[in-house]
Symmetry: C2
């Protein structure tokens, strides 16, 4: 193992599923790509997204107190880079990249028409964390393509690897590690096996 | 698309790379699995992990103000479930699951000896977010297996899909979407092409 005190880019924790964050204030709608996001709580269901203050999305969320988090298939991976590498301050991404939107139910901000899942979020808190702002939203609505999920995801997601690289999963490698497997191990361990 | 106001389990945003969080206070060391974690800032480099107050890790981090975040290969996926489905309050996971540790450099908490990458973190902030606590650490040291990275990750990571399911990536699907590709699209669009 190599040790370093710091890195130019902290890509070691990737892959991360790409989230397309949609925001709207008054008539202005924008979509950006985020690789820094995570669920935060089961009850209430909270979801966090880290966004640079340089982004138009940042100001739109602060103004409207709402956002949606959308997940796209791997055949749409180009869109992640398109909305990730351009700014809504410069171009109207919806028009340029021909992004279809659908009305959300519990917030005014739309969801992507062609995503496999989306969370509608109402901003409950935010705080500056270094050079980004961490937005914490309560999930108040959920959209999903029923063909994209069985018990778990069944369509290829768009995963970000860092440095402009993307990849998707190989479902043939899927494994289940359940309670029984853990208990079996523990009872063998107790028996010294 | 189906709309629902809420879900029993919010599994739609998975997969997520599994992070094994190591914590230590005085002589007590613990390892748990976290699927809820994200980078938060480039400069300073901040990393956030969401942990339930029920977890021993929660109390150890609050006491020591340090933790490490470790990433494991898919051939180690069973370990994610083992340390994820058991509590350090009940068993000594290091002993039971035969986890090797290595000294960190900038924190007292160790890193996993057999991981492909690890971030050493000093706690800079934390806050209660719903039923979890969100710990924000500054990355003060980085360990990585040089054979696991080229420009990006090259070994199979352990991704969590929710509901005890795991999967890994298919590197043969890797794509690059760079600045040039976006610029090419934009210039075709301007030309109406």
């Amino acid at each position: 193992m190599v040790f370093v005190e710091s890195l130019q880019k902290y890509n070691l924790h990737y892959p991360a599923n790409v989230a397309l964050v949609c925001s709207m204030y008054e008539e202005r709608i924008n979509v950006m790509a985020a690789a820094w996001h995570t669920q935060l709580s089961h009850d209430p269901p909270l979801y966090g997204v880290s966004i640079s203050p340089k982004r138009l999305t940042h100001d739109l969320i602060l103004s409207s107190k709402e956002f949606t988090v959308n997940f796209i298939r791997y055949d749409q991976s180009r869109l992640a880079a398109f909305v990730g590498k351009t700014s809504g301050r410069d171009i109207d991404k919806l028009n340029v990249f021909e992004i279809n939107l659908t009305n959300a139910r519990k917030v005014k901000v739309p969801v992507l028409g062609d995503c496999y899942a989306a969370y509608e979020c109402k901003l409950v808190d935010f705080r500056r964390t270094g050079d980004h702002t961490f937005f914490i939203g309560q999930i108040v609505g959920v959209h999903y393509d029923p063909n994209a999920f069985g018990q778990i995801l069944t369509v290829q997601p768009t995963l970000y690897l860092g440095s402009d690289h993307y990849v998707t999963v190989d479902f043939s490698t899927k494994r289940v590690h359940d309670e029984k497997q853990v208990k079996d191990y523990l009872s063998r361990w107790v028996q010294g096996g």
